[in-house]
């Protein structure tokens, strides 16, 4: 049953089909709600005022965190409140967040946990002159007698901590076992088993602190990938690493340091320390994977683009300098091929690939866009260099999705342009979803022709002094600057669109799938969440299919990483999936330029 959520003061309306929490709805609508607890309901920052006929009763958390006067006035916590009928939601400025929106949450994946580690509390008899057995032996004896686990062992890193743990804990230790290996021993108490899932993106790192026994996210935080200093695109970074071992080393180091910094923060928030991290799963595209591991990248960087390995890896975190429990392992799932990496595998896992026979398409739009199509028992993947136009880069007044960015554009019948700005204040620039809307609306209004050219003489379309055709979005005012979209900006987006659509059409052609055959299109990544699916279809970024078949799945790579972290079974499933995926190298695909050209054009009507 469809219903509408109207957000104020931005006026953004969201059409929904399923019940949704207000915070998820806000995200889809491009409204950045504050969330310091990652949606757990502990920070109380996402306060909104809701009017709706049917609302679920207040949760305990809301009773705790909201004043009675607020409750009387219809205030709720967005992350605790689900809507299922028409509603009006007022988002006050203090409830919006600052800075680029680093997307962390994703569809609620039900993870059936199969942790790779278990915690066993061990109490040993203290040594004496008549019992001089080693510390390890003491523990091994108890594990054998009480738990039937034989032949346990520990690496030197862990052994170093053993004597201290035993004596500090008064001969009681919580041992963490991975099969027969003791990967940590803590004095006395058992800590809640936690692990870290990391999505090492080209632009952003997303870290999730996960409760291993349930798969639940306890805290999440994102940060810009420090490698950006070596270049925005992957090739530049590979080049730096190829040319200079010192750079390769620095790149590896800075990435590890960034992960350590974020994970430390996440642990602190939960009253834990990095040494309590028992397991870690890292995903990323193949370049990120190789740079993180310090693998040689020359063969990967130039044709025929060959990675060092396409197998999954499991090794001591100590090898990379990641701060975790002393003997903890890092799991890096299999990269698929060329530049399509384990992050894509994670996306496939999270999007349900391999689970049934539905014809599914998943698109992870970013600087590199990865696509996968499942049909008739086959899965094909490809990657295109779409460029950062959809993230606001290379657009003259483009910016990332942050307060001040125009995120929605609507052109009325009378030609007036209405823009919605993130945060509700003055427009400072325009972000990817805004540019997409603008182009769709301009095309519908006849301001752009089929070739994406601005039609001279249309209201709002004019020539700049330098001869560049532009279309006015926002008129300058005392505090407001002119915001316009230029022909060059439009060209940048059309090229990006062309690349993505070409990838899609090639996959569909390869498996002989037509648009109506597709059961579901999943859009992963931040842009996938913010874009308006209707406008995406209107400009030809997505094929003509019923909108109900299109869904945003947020940071699916992060979700997939969490799945693999919390479940050994998911890791095995990912191995099978990796072997099933057929990767198409687009640069040598015949007739690529024909698909590209067709993809650039704007649909008629």
């Amino acid at each position: 049953m469809t219903y509408t959520i109207e957000f104020e003061p931005s006026g953004i309306r969201l059409l929904c089909e399923e019940p949704v929490t207000i915070s998820d709805a806000a995200r889809r609508a491009g409204i950045s709600l504050r969330s310091e607890c990652g949606g757990k309901g502990t920070c109380g920052k996402c306060q909104v005022r809701v009017q709706s006929n049917t609302l679920p009763p207040l949760t305990e958390t809301e009773h705790e965190l909201l004043a009675s006067s607020q409750i009387a006035d219809n205030w709720r916590l967005a992350c605790r409140t689900a809507i299922s009928t028409n509603a009006s939601v007022y988002v006050p400025a203090p409830s919006t967040s600052k800075g680029p929106v680093i997307q962390l949450d994703s569809l609620a994946i039900s993870i059936e946990p199969h942790p790779s580690v278990r915690t066993l509390l061990v109490e040993v008899s203290p040594p004496s002159l008549v019992d001089q057995q080693s510390d390890l032996h003491r523990i091994a004896r108890v594990l054998k007698r009480s738990h039937g686990i034989e032949k346990v062992w520990a690496s030197p890193t862990v052994l170093r901590t053993l004597p201290g743990a035993l004596r500090d804990g008064d001969w009681k230790v919580a041992t963490i076992l991975r099969d027969r290996e003791i990967i940590a021993a803590y004095a006395g108490t058992i800590h809640r088993p936690v692990g870290l899932a990391v999505d090492v993106g080209t632009t952003k790192l997303a870290c999730y602190l996960v409760e291993l026994e349930t798969g639940r996210v306890l805290a999440a935080k994102g940060t810009m990938n420090p490698q950006l200093s070596y270049g925005e695109d992957v090739i530049s970074r590979l080049k730096a690493a190829m040319d200079d071992p010192a750079s390769a080393s620095k790149i590896q180091q800075m990435t590890v340091e960034a992960i350590n910094a974020v994970s430390s923060e996440l642990c602190t928030v939960q009253g834990l320390a990095p040494e309590h991290l028992l397991d870690i799963c890292l995903v990323g595209n193949t370049a990120m994977h190789h740079l993180l591991l310090g693998l040689p990248v020359r063969a990967l960087a130039v044709s025929p683009f060959v990675p060092t390995t396409t197998s999954s890896l499991e090794f001591y975190t100590v090898l990379l300098g990641l701060h975790t429990a002393p003997g903890a392992y890092a799991f890096l799932p299999a990269p698929i091929a060329g530049f399509v990496g384990s992050d894509h595998l994670a996306v496939l896992l999270a999007a349900g690939f391999g689970e049934d026979n539905r014809t599914r398409l998943v698109i992870d739009i970013g600087t590199n866009t990865e696509l996968a199509l499942q049909a008739g028992g086959k899965i094909v993947s490809c990657s295109t260099a779409s460029g950062p136009a959809f993230e606001g880069a290379h657009i003259s007044q483009g910016m990332r999705a942050a307060p001040g960015a125009i995120q929605r554009v609507n052109i009325k019948a009378d030609g007036t342009v209405r823009c919605d700005v993130i945060g509700g204040g003055q427009a400072v620039g325009i972000c990817g979803s805004g540019v997409l809307d603008a182009i769709a609306e301009m095309r519908a209004a006849g301001i752009l022709n089929e070739r994406g050219r601005l039609v001279r003489g249309r209201p709002g379309a004019r020539l700049q002094d330098d001869g560049m055709p532009v279309f006015q979005l926002v008129q300058s005012d005392k505090d407001q600057r002119d915001i316009a979209i230029t022909q060059k900006d439009i060209d940048q987006v059309l090229l990006a669109k062309g690349a993505i659509r070409a990838g899609m059409d090639i996959l569909m052609s390869h498996l002989k799938v037509a648009a109506p055959d597709i059961d579901e299109i999943s859009l992963a990544g931040a842009f996938g969440t913010y874009l308006d699916p209707l406008n995406a279809v209107r400009i030809g970024l997505l094929p003509q299919i019923p909108l109900s078949r299109i869904r945003a799945i947020g940071n699916a790579a992060g979700a997939g990483a969490r799945m693999m972290l919390a479940s050994v079974e998911a890791r095995q499933r990912s191995e099978r999936l990796a072997r099933q995926v057929d990767y198409l190298e687009l640069t040598v695909y015949p007739a690529f330029s024909k698909f590209f050209v067709a993809g650039i054009r704007l649909p008629t009507g």
Partner: protein, 211 residues
Amino acid sequence: MSEDLYKAISKAVMEGEDGEATRRVNEALKAGLPPIEVMHRGIVAGISKAGELWKANEYFLPDVIMAADAFKAAMAIIKPRLEEGEGVRKSKKVVMGVVQGDVHDLGKSLVIAMLTSAGFEVIDLGIDVPLQKFIDAAREHQPHILGLGAYMTTTMLEMKGIIAELEKQGLRRKLKVMVGGVPTSQEFADQVGADAWGKDALDAMQKALRL
């Protein structure tokens, strides 16, 4: 009647209709029209018009790509039909290729189309071209210009090596080197010792005429 055929070919090329272009070229040849005329008045005329439209910001990349595609298809039919040395009309030769390790060919197709429209005879070495092949081609064809293309920051470095080898082989002074491709720049061209840098196919054409 022949005029109509030339116009039809030109229009098909300009509009990027490769099926139509090849059909018309075959029709023209069957009608006995001289291949050299078909090439200049039909095919080259069409791609020139596309270039002009591009320059006037009326044509955009996909339009030019399609026109270049049609141009390539039409030329594939005409070239074998030209007499040895004919059609060249004392035009200047350009040897072009995308450097080793790089397989992007869209840009190269556009440059070849534009250069041909400007009256150059272009010898296309293809993509992923090893250094030695460039040297051998320079020696064999003695071109006026050697055009090098690269579309990745990792492969463009090949160009330095190619130019150095030309020097070593005593061939450098005998030709002009132009470089191009998305990651390249004027600064890069200066660094590697090239004579010119083509910002895009249109720019490459204009600079080639002045080299």
